[in-house]
Amino acid sequence: MNFFDILETKLMPVMSKVGTQRHIMAIRDGVVATIPLTVIGGLSLIIANPPFSKTATGFGKLWLDFATANKVALSMPFNMTMALMSIFAVLAMGYSLANSYKMNPLNGSILSLMTYLLMSAQTVNVDKLGRLMPTKYLDGQGIFTAILAFIVAIEVTRFLKKKNITIKMPDGVPPAIANSFDALVPAFILVLIVYPITLVVQNVAGVPVPQMIMNLFKPLIAAVDSPFGIAFVALLAQLLWAVGIHGSSVVGAIANPFKESNLAANAAAQAAGEAMPYVFTPAFWSFFIVIGGSGATLGLLFLLFRSRSSHLKGIGRVALIPGLFNINEPIIFGMPMIFNPTLFIPFVFSQVICSVIAYYATVLGFVGRAFATVPWTTPAPLGALIGTADWRAAVLVLILAAISTVIYYPFFKVYERTLIKQEEADAAEASAVAAD
């Protein structure tokens, strides 16, 4: 059994489990569903906080003055989207899990949100303004609480349904009306379970539930937001890709809540004019690690395009356009990278090396930290620029792409030579056949 067989036979069953596990998939769906809102929120934040210092002149000064004068209004789209991200995520996660159990997804969403709000956003009375709901724990930092909430909400509902604890409607009641009562018993039971526990936890721990959960997760968040943590995620995703399994989607399902929580903390800090705490964000992953696609293959496009092997040149042609948008399946399956012992080392390790360099470039202050989300299909230098609002991030992307190309180069040459030999042998054989 060779190395790739071991990877595949050991990893495939685990990946099938993770990649099809309904709670993990619901978390993934929830995070994916909020992407449009985090993109809008990030843009609003950039507009409200121009990347210019007070000494800027011309356009920079105009923008800065405008933003300073209208900060509250310009920040509102951020406050209504990204700063409430976990509300949207819990709706989507509850929907997805309920759907996977073939339960009413709308009720799943509503019960999940109710449970989450009960845990996280107890209102306070403010004179004249009436009841206000604090939003402090409703942004991405509340994502771990949101995950707990939707799982509790859906599983309790499912349990009640399984035990047939429902309000029976007489025959002839339209399904829509019967459905609305479907949620009543679980809602009641969830309040009875969740609310007293929340009150007890608050009084014993002295902090709100989401704060306590965040405190519990803090060591894990710190471990993930370290060079080892980031490199480990980059490595694991790539080991999967080496046997042709969508590594980033499987590993990402687990890593995404961490990235989103970090992003929310950075965005909140940026909005408050404070130093951003975290390095590992969705933009960091998309534009500093998987540059041009998994395996950091952006620079490799150039080598392919210029290759003397007709196969590699052909792949270069197919791969060029998608590759600029970080889609590199043509390279992964066409070159191919998968099950390829010659290219295994650069394919797996170039993005790991990029991740470590980018980590230190960020913590040493050479590039800004990301606080905005950009769709991962944005060309990497542009995505990095928007995500961090720092032009130096775009330069770092180009440097990383160059470094990964240098890492690929010797292995690429060896592989290319084998292919050229093969192609020449094939051509010679073909002409020999033709001559016969």
Partner: protein
């Protein structure tokens, strides 16, 4: 009208293949609908197709999805990795048509 569904993680790389397959089908004067979708959408959309093809990178979904597709009478298989990598619309279209024919 032949309806072909392609599924990958985000529905992105399959969408490139869809374009190539459409070209191949147009050249043969075939009446087809081909769409690319992301894995999270699968459970909601899988029923209304003649054949379902998975990108090789999500082949770990095959075991879980085959029973669903079978109960709907739809053949489901994984696209050959090399055809996928070279975005070979012709071959993947052939593969899809062959799967449909084998079911009938």
């Amino acid at each position: 009208m032949t309806k072909i569904l392609l599924v990958c993680a985000a529905g992105m790389s399959t969408s490139y293949l869809v374009e190539k397959m459409k070209k191949a089908a147009a050249a043969r004067n075939l009446d087809v609908t081909i769409e690319a979708h992301a894995t999270p959408e699968f459970s909601e959309i899988y029923k209304n197709w003649d054949v379902i093809l998975l990108g090789p990178q999500v082949r770990f979904q095959k075991a879980g999805w085959t029973p669903l597709a079978e109960s709907a009478g739809i053949p489901l298989d994984v696209i050959n990795p090399m055809d996928y990598g070279t975005m070979n619309g012709e071959k993947v279209l052939d593969f899809a048509l062959k799967l449909i024919a084998s079911k009938k």
